[in-house]
Symmetry: D2
Subunit: 196 residues, 4 copies
């Protein structure tokens, strides 16, 4: 049996870069990697081949998976077309719970490494992350630093410059941005946001 | 700022013993520890002083907290009656999400160490554990071994000798028991249970 | 292949208690544990059966090993007299490098868990610990708290009440004691010691 | 007080890439990073500005330090010329023990992250790594995979295609190469090497 890993971190903690380096290391050993991201996450794709991109500049082509598709099918296709020694999933928080169960089953065959956010801008678990916490053999934090020097643990959302912890999960329209903060800087920012 | 720790493990992984040793180590340094368990968990109490008990034989008196009570009040009482340098919570999965938020706020003053189960017999997060995953500064696994030698990650429930993954969370009547298993031994036991 | 673990911590960090709980957990699953300590460490033995004792009160009989003996022989004897599913070594810093190599070879058969100090009162690696760092598959810190609230990382020696970082490794005569401190409290204590 | 981290891994485990991503993350938060490598390690420098380079393609300019120089001087210079919020050292195994002591002292001011090998081709600690194990507040393994799928823990040396565990630390002449292996594949390769 292989293992299901959930490597979680805040935005900007280099999760995608870690996923790409993990792929690189496996390939250096002559192994085949199936790199996948949920279809929802189409940042940076230009109507062409989907890619996993990191802020620091690393990039690699990947497969996408829609909420209706199965990882078992993707794995079977990978086996049929050259082999698969390892599955790496980026933005795994957007997988459905059912898909995480599929990944768990696939650890009968190969190790599965999932990279993603633990919580959303309200500090609540994503559905995919919740299932990963329930099923993963290993939870590993990818650490990054808050502007104050402490460890960041929260993905703060700003709408039109104001830090908010409510509103729809998927925001449409207006100027939206995110910053990874520690819990205490986040509380301060929320307090400031409410006074604006 | 101090930190909120969630030290999780399966049943029989020595969580209570770890909690008691942590208390012992703080006290050896002359510090005051507030040891608490949720009122729900009254195993081993005999109508007298509530206690945290470990299978290996360690035991210590503790405070209890009901679902309606606040950790802030318990902390204030501890400060008033001799001081509090550290809060340790056993069986933390039974805390309410609101109580976990209280513990997070108390890390402004002292470190908080929560020991508990991550998932129930269905491999679903407990409500208290869910909030701990969302708010803890550090998730640390207390490892234990399955009967097959692999790491145990599941708390399997047996009703009248049959392994089950449905039924009420709190079971009343009949012969109920638990065993910490790895996911794959659990799947086998469930399959056997369904064929009985 | 199984793994060689080095679980290190300062004095008073509950290493022996952890070793005993690990033994307990294996035995709860019906497995046989070979518990060993180096002969050098005879604290608490009274000319009778050697034991591993923890400050919190846990205790268990154990085998001892002298610097000339081999872990392979101890393992073979254990296999011959009932079996061995796991080897646990307490005070592993006192093992010889050759004995650590023997333990590495034995991970072909069973997991080996070594508990011990990383460094002596001068903040230098013990010979056994050095070899463990070189060969272990996993280094895991058993954390404990300094009197100041920070993590302790140093085993400070006091001779007649004065903190010292020189003198023989094994001290004879006079009043010797130890305290686990963080590096900065240790530096302060050494400075005070030099001014006495 | 900040912390001294030793992030160790075998060759090809992406240590340099991790060091560069850590620098990137600090700089994204507007902080100043002092990136240093020991002068001994001049791979990839072309008589021009020294650089830290990773196999996956990341690269950044860095300072170098000779065995006679002091990290305290480098830190003072960095403070004088724009500031320093964090020190990152690549190939830290080549630092002298004295330099590691300097880095420990500098954690009074900023966090220090050291990336490097734990052991050489004989599976013996490097002198810099030994001092890091003695003084670091945190030891963190950067994992990578052996050709067999297990975790790699050994840096195997090949001279003219033959795996060897003796000879000078710094090899001159002939065809030298390295591969990160697990202990058991390494033992096999050494046995093959001896039969050639």
């Amino acid at each position: 049996m292989s293992r299901l890993y959930f490597k979680y971190g805040t935005m900007g903690s280099s999760k995608s870069a870690q996923a790409l380096m993990c792929k690189f290391n496996y390939e250096q050993k002559g192994m085949k990697v199936l790199l996948v991201k949920p279809e929802l996450d189409n940042r940076g794709d230009d109507g062409e081949t989907p890619k996993v991109r990191s802020r620091i500049g690393l990039v690699a082509e990947c497969k996408t998976i829609s909420a209706e598709q199965s990882f078992v099918d993707l794995f079977d296709q990978a086996i049929a077309s050259g082999g698969c020694d390892c599955i790496i999933v980026d933005e795994a928080q957007f997988c459905t719970p059912t898909q995480i169960d599929q990944l768990k089953q696939l650890t009968k065959h190969v190790p599965v490494l999932c990279y993603g956010l633990m919580t959303d801008f309200r500090c609540k678990l994503f559905k995919g992350s919740k299932r990963l916490v329930e099923l993963a053999d290993s939870l590993q934090e990818i650490k990054s630093v808050c502007r104050c020097g402490r460890k960041s643990t929260v993905n703060a959302r700003y709408i039109n410059g104001r830090c908010v912890d409510d509103g729809p999960i998927v925001f449409i329209g207006g100027d939206e941005s995110y910053e990874n903060l520690c819990y205490w800087c986040w509380q301060e920012e929320l307090a400031k946001g409410k006074n604006k």
